[in-house]
Amino acid sequence: MIEAIFASPLFYLFITVGIYFLFAFLQKKFHTPIFNPLLWTIIILCGYILLIVFIDKGNIDQANINEAVDKYRSSVSILDILLAPVTVALALPLYANRHVLKQNWLPILVGSIVGVGTSIGSVVLLGHLLNLDGGITFALYPRGVTTAIAREITEILGVGEHTSITVAMVVLTGVVGALLAPPLIKLFGSKEDTTIGMALGSASHAIGTSVAFGYSSKAGAIASVSMVTNGFLTVIVAVIVRLIVAR
């Protein structure tokens, strides 16, 4: 009985939108990345799904969890379907900031190349040092890239089964970035717009971009552009890696 109502497709859509809206509201009210709506929606929904499995089946084993997750995903498949058009819409911030892109193309190009290189390089190096599974290391390549592009990269690299780890790491990277970037910027000294905009957008994507807007609108504009150029460059690296590995 409980399952029929509280695990119905409509109710799943309702609580997904509800939790997201609640934390989006809290984030706006308190201006803190701690209330990142995606992060909290993931955490609370995971807890909720485990609770439903427990009430419904009496024990929480992986098979029951998988079944409940599949049911959840098919309930809110509209969100999955809209992911591609949402990614296409990234053309908008790029277009809105085209003048910033044109005027600062050299620092943006250099910053993106260095950002992508060190991001992937550090994952490869740390993954090797920590003896991390190769598939998971691949899934971490795009951990600094905006989620929409990050999940495409896991598909290119052929580790689509780990996409959820990628998404979680991307979100956490954004939150960690929002917390660590301000003290790092203070330590490094320069508050030059292009520099902090590039570093924030490139290393911590959309969440970093909102932090950059807190410094200045130019820093935010640079960050919006770098978030997309960074994602784009990571796709190119991933395609090259895939073409090499496939041979």
């Binding site: 989006a24 995606l38 050299l106 620092p107 991001s119 959820s164 660590l180 292009t194």
Partner: protein
């Protein structure tokens, strides 16, 4: 009506993108359709074939609320409990270390680029000779 029209334009670019992506996959070149759609839309906006006003509301709604569209993909993490419980501390180290490394490197690379750019500019444009 307006919302439908805007959604339709964005969906058109999405579908063209996935079509081209499929064609590329035939020659074993894996490139995501949504990225192709994004680039095409950007180009069409630049050359004025699509007016930005004709996609603003829907596009901006997508951009402002991107996070919610990733919830289903992220919830699948419940299927990876075993992997996470084995590797959580490695993931945590990479989470912090990779951010600090890439942030620091990008910051200094851009700062150096701007510094060199400014010096180059000053060399090529010597201080104006005062008129007397």
């Amino acid at each position: 009506m307006k919302i439908f029209k805007q959604l339709l334009i964005i969906l058109t670019f999405t579908i063209i993108g996935s079509l081209l992506s499929y064609l590329l996959s035939l020659i074993h070149f894996p490139f995501p359709g949504s990225l192709i759609g994004m680039i095409l839309l950007f180009i069409f906006l630049l050359i004025g074939l699509v007016k930005v006003d004709s996609i603003t509301e829907v596009g901006q709604f997508f951009i402002d609320n991107m996070g919610i569209f990733f919830v289903p993909a992220a919830i699948a993490i419940l299927k990876q409990i075993e992997i996470i419980s084995l590797h959580w501390w490695k993931l945590l180290i990479i989470l912090f270390a990779a951010f600090v490394i890439s942030f620091t490197a990008t910051y200094w690379a851009v700062r150096l680029t701007i510094f060199l750019q400014n010096r180059h500019k000053n060399e090529n444009e010597p201080a104006e000779v005062p008129h007397d």
